[in-house]
């Protein structure tokens, strides 16, 4: 909290520097600001940056390096046997010292060593804060003073200020790339650790999934098998059911909207699809578990079929409902991109509306429609909440939609909810599954984009 307040104080200092700089720039012109090379605002920014940049960077450096140095100092002052302890124990000791210093209750017993560590922790933190803050403040004032002296009618302050701004913009643009790199590396790193424990081919082609590792030799049902084939087939089964619902319904409603509906009907139907698209997936999941699954089960009993209460069919149907607006809006876009000339030509030759749609418009829009379907498949594969709430946990290798199956996303959630240990194969398996999921959805997206670029006719 103190750190936040001190950081804000530095920012206030920079804001004050802005005001002073702008005032001085107006002052040197005697009121005729048009004779300045750069606008007064830029002089203000110039002083603010000269003050704030060095001050804030020094402050953050102190905070980062200081914490490390404090830990080292405390460890160095510890009695021998504690100093030699393993890294996790030492880390826990330090965390507890920090908690105690902040007035909290540590997780381990309070020993004289811990109290001494907490006391020196408190002292050193205080020292770090105030020395670091004063140094940052001083540096900021020096920077501001230096910049103030340079303010002049002909001083070009716009260029450096704009250059800093562009660097900031470049940096934030790079964050999107860093996110992707972060996903790839964090997931890949843990996945590689997983493949150290479980061979890659066993994971990809094994048919038995049972991630609980046996604590005792004779424990039942806990073999620690990591064959992902049942998860893949489960995912494919549910995705297939979803696409069997969403494909025709989405395509046909898009055809109606794009080819038949008058603006009045569109004005009703479009918002309806948007509402459906905007409903959170957790709501669909609840609906699947509360309404659809019991209904299917009762229908099954009526016709004499045994439907599992967490059947693939229930999850797939509801997921299909969820994807309808997605398919429909992508198909709608693809159909709208077909120029009216083609329709007019077809109708002019005497084709009916239906013949025009099925033989001219849809073939012309096909690459876009297929790309939309691929994106919908990628959505269905990555969808989590519906299957977590409505599909099963047991990894059955079956193609029967009435039985319970599990999916990749369900297993990721199951493996990672609760306490994780980052060195057990069970936790790491989730990252291997996540990597597979990422690769497959990425592949589908790339193929979809390529397909549009390569096969879509350009009509203008």
């Amino acid at each position: 909290m103190t750190q936040l307040i001190l950081t804000l104080a530095l920012i206030c200092l920079a804001a004050a520097a802005f005001l002073v700089g702008r005032r001085k720039a107006i002052g040197v012109t005697g009121g005729r600001t048009s004779i300045l090379h750069s606008r007064p605002v830029y002089h203000g920014w110039y002083v603010a940056l000269a003050c704030g940049l060095p001050a804030v960077s020094l402050w953050f450096m102190v905070l980062l390096a200081g914490d490390w140095m404090i830990d080292r100092t405390i460890v160095a002052a510890l009695p021998g046997e504690l100093r030699e302890a393993s890294a996790p124990i030492l880390q826990r000791f330090l965390n507890d010292a920090e908690t105690l210093a902040a007035g909290g209750i540590p997780t381990i017993e309070i020993t004289p060593e811990l109290e001494a560590a907490a006391a020196s922790f408190r002292r050193l933190t205080l020292l770090e804060r105030w020395v670091g803050f004063s140094a940052a403040m001083g540096l900021g004032l020096i920077g501001a003073g230096f910049a103030m002296r340079r303010i002049d009618i002909s001083r070009r302050t716009r260029q450096p200020v704009e250059r800093v701004l562009l660097i900031v913009l470049l940096a934030v643009a790079a964050i999107s790339v860093l996110t992707t790199a972060g996903i790839v590396f964090s997931v890949l790193f843990e996945a590689i650790r997983f493949f150290d424990k479980v061979p890659f081919l066993d994971f990809l082609f094994g048919v038995k999934w049972s991630p609980q590792i046996a604590l005792r030799e004779d424990q039942v049902g806990s073999s620690g098998a990591f064959g992902a084939i049942p998860l893949f087939t489960g995912t494919i089964l549910i995705t297939l059911i979803a696409m069997l619902v969403a494909g025709p319904v989405g395509l046909l409603s898009a055809v109606y909207l794009a080819e038949y509906a008058d603006p009045r009907h569109r004005a009703v139907a479009k918002p309806m699809l948007e509402i459906l698209a905007g409903i959170p997936t957790v709501v669909y999941g609840f609906f699947a578990a509360l309404v659809v699954a019991p209904a299917l089960r009762e229908a099954g009993i009526m016709v004499g079929l045994d439907v599992a209460s967490e059947s693939a069919l229930a999850a797939g149907l509801v997921m299909g409902m969820m994807i309808i607006p997605f398919v429909s809006s992508l198909t709608d876009d693809a159909l709208a991109a077909v120029p009216d000339d083609l329709r007019d030509a077809s109708l002019g030759l005497g084709a009916t509306h239906q013949e025009t749609v099925t033989r001219v418009v849809i073939p012309a829009a096909l690459p876009g429609i297929v790309a939309g379907f691929l994106l919908a498949v990628s959505r269905a594969i990555g969808e989590t909440m519906i299957v977590v709430m409505a599909a099963g946990l047991a990894a059955n290798l079956t193609a029967n939609p009435l039985e319970a199956v599990t999916t990749v996303t369900v297993q990721i959630v199951t493996l990672l909810i609760g306490d994780q240990e980052f060195d057990s194969a069970k936790t790491l398996a989730a990252f291997a599954l996540g990597l597979t999921l990422f690769m497959v959805t990425l592949g589908l997206n790339v193929v979809a984009l390529r397909m549009v670029q390569k096969y879509q006719e350009k009509y203008d």
Binding site: L170, P280, V282, V283, T352, H353, T384, M385, L416
Partner: protein
């Protein structure tokens, strides 16, 4: 000419032709009907979905209270400290007075069970408000236990065999007696809107989850909005048209389609495992969702900037504005309505998202209302997920009611986006 006015029977009027035409028109009609019914099916889905939520959930906003005349007899009170008294006994005495024929110990415990545990707090708070009550008595409306609440709302089938019901005949008789004396009331459930989670359905509320979602969205917005807008401005206006900009562009489009759960894995691996941020804290959930929302905001901002006619940019450059001034004085203000619209839609998506939050440990059972972005908290959709897992009947209506609250927020946000779009959109 006569041939033209009196055509011979052409191939188009032969019987086969007419039959073919009839079939073609038939196909046309059925195709149109199928298309309409596809849309109708979608509408039906929507109605069933929302209908089942509302039917299940409306009663979650109501709760049952019962009126009791409680006597603050001094033998149960601590004279020194009014907050420290045996308030359970005070309630029990009040109930015993009402049903004098109940004397057996087990029966008495069952009788006390019709009042929610919260009742003791309410009795205590009344005394703390007015310490002069000690020794006197007061009429209080106390919250009923969840079984009584379910019975009162009609979710208990009285004709079912006793052992299959969650409430036995004896308790039903007590509740009916209270009801006949007009001491049972169904009132609006403020607890549900204002308080945090609880193991007791009648005391559980979405207040904590709403606050948690608020803190998460605040972090998400503060991080993703400036970053996303800045990145889009750079890519659209300042980036040299080179290969690596294409790479960034493709990358952003792909990032927008990455499953949300993968962002959860990223948040878990980077924020929790590497940076050791606190689990279950809105700041971690917010950062994770910010990364997920970033592509949406970048894409919306770029579209908004592209939509501004080049003449405005040219005019500004021609009178001597620098490229940065063109953006900050002209393009950005003109694009702002559409940028905000896109950002709000992105925020609405983040509000409904739960899978990444499960990954960063926001599934904790949190009773206290979070007062800042580093307190343990849960989010509204995650609360729905948690309650949906509870087997108790009382939580079904709470889950649906929480979904209704979530949907109200989503509708409000999307409505705001539509309003902004219509109110401020400039047509060039």
């Amino acid at each position: 000419m006569t041939d033209m006015t009196q055509p011979a029977t052409s191939v188009h009027q032969s019987d086969t032709s007419r039959e073919r035409l009839r079939r073609r028109y038939g196909r046309e009609r059925s195709f149109k009907i199928i298309s309409v019914s596809a849309l109708g099916l979608t509408a039906l889905f929507l109605v069933i979905l929302l209908g089942s939520i509302v039917l299940n959930g409306w009663s979650g906003f109501l709760t049952t209270k019962l009126r009791l005349e409680v006597t603050y007899s001094t033998k149960h009170l601590d004279v020194e400290d009014p907050a420290n008294g045996n308030f359970r006994m005070i309630i029990l005495d009040a109930l015993r007075e009402r049903f004098p024929d109940v004397t057996e110990r087990r029966e008495l415990r069952a009788l006390l069970g019709i009042v929610s545990n919260r009742g003791t707090w309410d009795v205590r708070d009344a005394l703390l408000d007015d310490p002069s009550l000690a020794g006197g008595s007061l009429e209080l409306w106390l919250p009923a236990a969840t079984e009584v609440d379910m019975l009162n709302k009609g979710y208990v089938d009285r004709s079912a065999p006793e052992e299959l019901r969650l409430i036995d005949d004896r308790t039903i008789a007590w509740v009916d007696a209270i009801d006949e004396a007009d001491d049972l009331a169904t009132v609006f459930n403020w607890t549900f809107l204002l308080s945090g989670d609880s193991r007791e359905p009648e005391l559980a509320g979405v207040g904590g989850a709403v606050l948690g979602s608020f803190w998460i969205l605040l972090v998400t917005f503060v991080v993703s909005f400036p970053t996303g807008v800045g990145a889009a401005i750079f890519l659209e206006e300042f980036a040299p048209k080179r290969r690596w900009v294409d790479v960034i562009e493709v990358n952003i489009n792909n990032l927008a389609a990455v499953p949300s759960i993968v962002f959860g894995l990223l948040g878990l691996a980077v924020f929790l495992n590497v940076m050791h941020m606190p689990r279950s804290a809105p700041v971690v959930g917010g950062l994770t969702l910010a990364l997920m929302t970033l592509p949406t905001i970048i894409i919306a901002t770029r579209a908004a900037l592209k939509g501004i006619p080049p003449s405005i940019k040219d005019a500004a450059l021609a009178i001597g504005a620098s490229p940065v001034q063109v953006v900050s004085h002209h393009l950005l203000p003109l694009a702002m309505p559409r940028i905000l619209t896109g950002a709000i839609i992105g925020m609405a998506r983040a509000l409904g998202e739960s899978a990444p939050l499960l990954m960063v440990g926001m599934v904790a059972f949190v009773v206290d209302l979070p007062s800042g972005p580093t307190d343990a908290a849960t989010a509204l959709p995650v609360q729905v997920f948690l309650w949906a897992d509870s087997p108790e009947r009382g939580f079904v209506e709470k889950t649906s009611a929480a979904i209704m609250v979530l949907l109200v927020f989503l509708v409000a946000m999307n409505g705001l986006a539509v309003y902004l779009r219509q109110r401020f959109e400039i047509r060039w």
